[in-house]
Chain length 129, copies 2
DNA sequence: ATAATGCGTAACCGTACAGTTACGCGACTC
DNA sequence: GAGTCGCGTAACTGTACGGTTACGCATTAT
């Protein structure tokens, strides 16, 4: 449970990531920082629309903004994505399990087949509930 | 670009994950499949509200539903989370980079300081743009 | 000083959606 | 068959938000 200087609300993060345009902005920003205008230029929506998206991304700390003359340059901040990664972590074993489920199943069947001489199956654990 | 039998729209997935209640439902379902009623019982909102959340999760293929008598049992399907994991992958190197950014920066400054005898700074490389 | 640029914000739509209550329907119980 | 349980859905409300246009405010250019 390492506590970095700032604790990012994964709530805001997920919320910010929910919009495809915002994810695209992040993808764009991976190539390098850009002023708001150029970001807006990359999308088929109006500049104010992007401005609002950027505000949301700012609130989620997914981007950082600093002025440069009359430009506002936006920079990616991948830090909060770490929280998403951690959250995902709880499910990773889970889908690895599923990855091997067929294999495991087959092996289990195989093992059963081998040792299946006089052992009565107790009841088949009826799902995972 | 592996194409599994089903292609999950990461759009629907992110959308589904955007709500805290829905993420909580998934977290709950990690412990095992449950009928809708029990899921609803675990939250301070009405049963129909949960029912709608479950519908969204179903659409995103994050849960699977099957009837069992007069119950509808919901089961976690972690598959679509893989897509999220892949998406995140593009940022993983990035935040590893940032881990070392301070170190790198300090080292760079140090190097500059050493060689900085008669070199006029052209204009300060102006961010990372 | 004046004009033009770059951006954010306000004001205003339309739509999505979280939540509620009322209702309906299939599935077990007696 | 009548009652009840489990659960989805319809109908409705409040709110968030994506998009637009109009506007305002700095900063640079003339």
């Amino acid at each position: 449970m390492r506590n970095r200087s700032v604790t990012y609300s994964s709530e805001a993060t997920f919320q910010a990531l929910a919009d495809p345009t915002r994810r695209a902005v992040l993808d764009l920003l991976r190539r390098g920082s850009q002023p708001a205008g150029e970001i807006a230029g990359a999308f088929p929506v109006s500049r104010p629309a992007i401005s609002k998206h950027l505000r949301l991304l700012r609130r989620a700390h997914l981007v950082r903004e600093h002025r440069e003359g009359r430009n506002r340059v936006y920079q990616l901040n991948p830090e909060p994505l770490r929280a998403v990664d951690s959250w995902l972590d709880q499910y990773r074993n889970f889908w690895k399990m599923n990855l091997n489920s067929l294999k495991t199943f087959v092996e289990a069947e195989h093992a059963k087949e081998i040792s299946q001489h006089h052992i009565a199956k107790p009841k088949t654990s009826k799902g995972d509930h």
